[in-house]
Symmetry: C2
Subunit: 317 residues, 2 copies
């Protein structure tokens, strides 16, 4: 009988989450290790593979179809991570080769947003769709693009970097060295920056966002305050929505997708963010695309989307 | 013996060009009719089909593989033109049905930039490429996108409208109703608008562009003056290049193509335009794509690109 389990791994700068995923897209077991504590990639991968074996033994799974890895700067073509700025492993880390030292199964590497988009396609709200775009809002902004039912990789393997599409050439400084990338406005970090700007513009404000130090303030606080009706928090999301809606409309002019999915921490704020996003999207959408694009929230659990997608990618490579 | 000729038609607001195209991509005969003089689509298509028959008789071609049509707002899925603002036929014109009243061959409809991109893929500089983007600079700016060796149509059939990607949310008014679309800067019309702006900023200027009325001035004059070393004309192309290079860099963040092709009247100015385009492109390109994208000029004759592409599309539908 063929085995139908695979492993999905979500590598973040702080934590690495490992999931044992069944054919129908359920994480039957989870484990994790602290990425930031490793400075040696070989030791790190050895520990990942040890944890995988432990999970398989505990769940009585004898073999797996493959290991799928979602990682910052993970490259689908090379199986490597290249110069990820938030990992301690410098230069190029050949995950494909390192995993194969310990496990003799197919390995697929992708970036986290691509994996999330693929997870949405196989197990989430994009089932059966041919063309859609996923934006993941987190510390940065990632995107995964599906064209004709397939994940778009492009020449370099890095297609779908819409967090680094420039929405304002004279805008905020981005970590990538350029100015005005979408990520500087629509990420959790960008929302925090907008919050600090709006707070500075309104010294008279004494609502909930004024009851904490500037250092404590996060996009989560903005979401909570907006949902409690705080007008300043709503204004912060209004501005966030203007930029994100514009970037989404520009993406539609490229590929004319049937849907755009949003996922990530800031999206959990719900309608207080989604309403201004939709308004800006409609305003900035070229007339030929009016009414053709659904804006949806990801249907995958946020903490499992990359794991499920990475696992699905290794099954379908 | 199978027939290997097909018809390519390029519908413009002023003229309609018809070409009889051989299998190896040569226009063996050309004809045309004045689009603007027709107010009845049926009469217009009847005349097109009459001209096609004349061309076939003159060239002793008994049958054709199909008719490919490149038209503003031409839709690949429906075979119709929808509300093209520069044609006299209002509403929806069902080219597919109309042609079939007179000719019993497959009909393929596409927009002009998509046809040009496909022509480049089959007969031009993009032969063998899997991923590239074509920008056509004319009265407006069009684009055609090839992903995995196939023309991108998207859900609506209107994918690849990068002339209407917004590069400056507070920018110039566009004919589409929005502000700051690429087309308002990088089309021949946009270059003329930039020229008028730069001229107004420099009342002391008395070079070649000051030797004509504002009404006479075209992007062609700017190109000629720039190639003669006129500093004001070079400044106009510098600004044009900044916007076009930015839009190109943003497009790369979407699909990571191996090349971007440029075509159209303004591109004929050559290096005086291409140099600032390349500089802006490099400056605005996200570091993960550095060195991965060639910027090329179309290798097809400008007046035949859409004809050749439309003819190729009907062969390969």
């Amino acid at each position: 009988m063929t085995n139908t389990y695979s492993i999905g791994i979500d590598i973040g700068g702080t934590n690495t989450d490992i999931g044992l995923v069944s054919a129908d897209g359920h994480c039957v077991a989870r484990n994790n290790l602290p990425t930031a504590k490793y400075y040696d990639a070989d030791l790190y991968v050895a520990d990942i593979c040890r944890k995988i074996r432990e999970m398989m033994e505990e769940e009585h799974v004898a073999t797996i179809d493959g290991v799928g890895i979602a990682a910052p700067m993970g490259n689908y073509y090379t199986g490597c991570i290249d110069n990820a700025t938030n990992l301690n492993f410098r230069g190029t880390t050949d995950l494909n080769a390192l995993i194969h030292k310990y496990l003799d199964v197919p390995v697929t590497v992708s970036n986290d947003a691509n994996a999330a988009a693929y997870g949405e396609l196989v197990y989430g709200g994009a089932k059966g769709m041919k063309n859609f775009i996923m934006f993941t809002l987190g510390t940065g902004v990632g995107s995964g693009i599906v064209i004709d039912g397939k994940l778009l990789h492009g020449k370099t393997g890095n297609a779908g970097e819409l967090g680094h599409a420039i929405v304002d050439p004279n805008g905020r400084q981005c970590g990538c060295g350029r100015k005005g990338c979408l990520e500087t406005y629509a990420s959790a970090t960008g929302i925090r920056a907008t919050a600090l700007k709006v707070l500075a513009e309104h010294p008279e404000y004494d609502g909930p966002l004024a009851q904490m130090t500037r250092e404590e303030l996060t996009s989560k606080h903005v979401g909570d305050a907006a949902n409690a009706g705080d007008s300043l928090a709503l204004m912060i999301f209004e501005r966030t929505g203007q930029w994100l809606g514009l970037a989404m409309a520009n993406a539609v002019a490229f590929s004319s997708p049937e849907a755009i999915f949003l996922m990530g921490g800031p999206v959990k704020a719900g309608e207080v963010l989604l309403r201004p996003v939709r308004e800006s999207f409609e305003k900035n959408l070229c007339f030929v695309f009016k009414g053709s694009v659904e804006i949806r929230v990801s249907e995958l659990p946020g903490n499992e989307a990359a794991i499920l997608g990475a696992a699905a990618l290794t099954k379908n490579k």
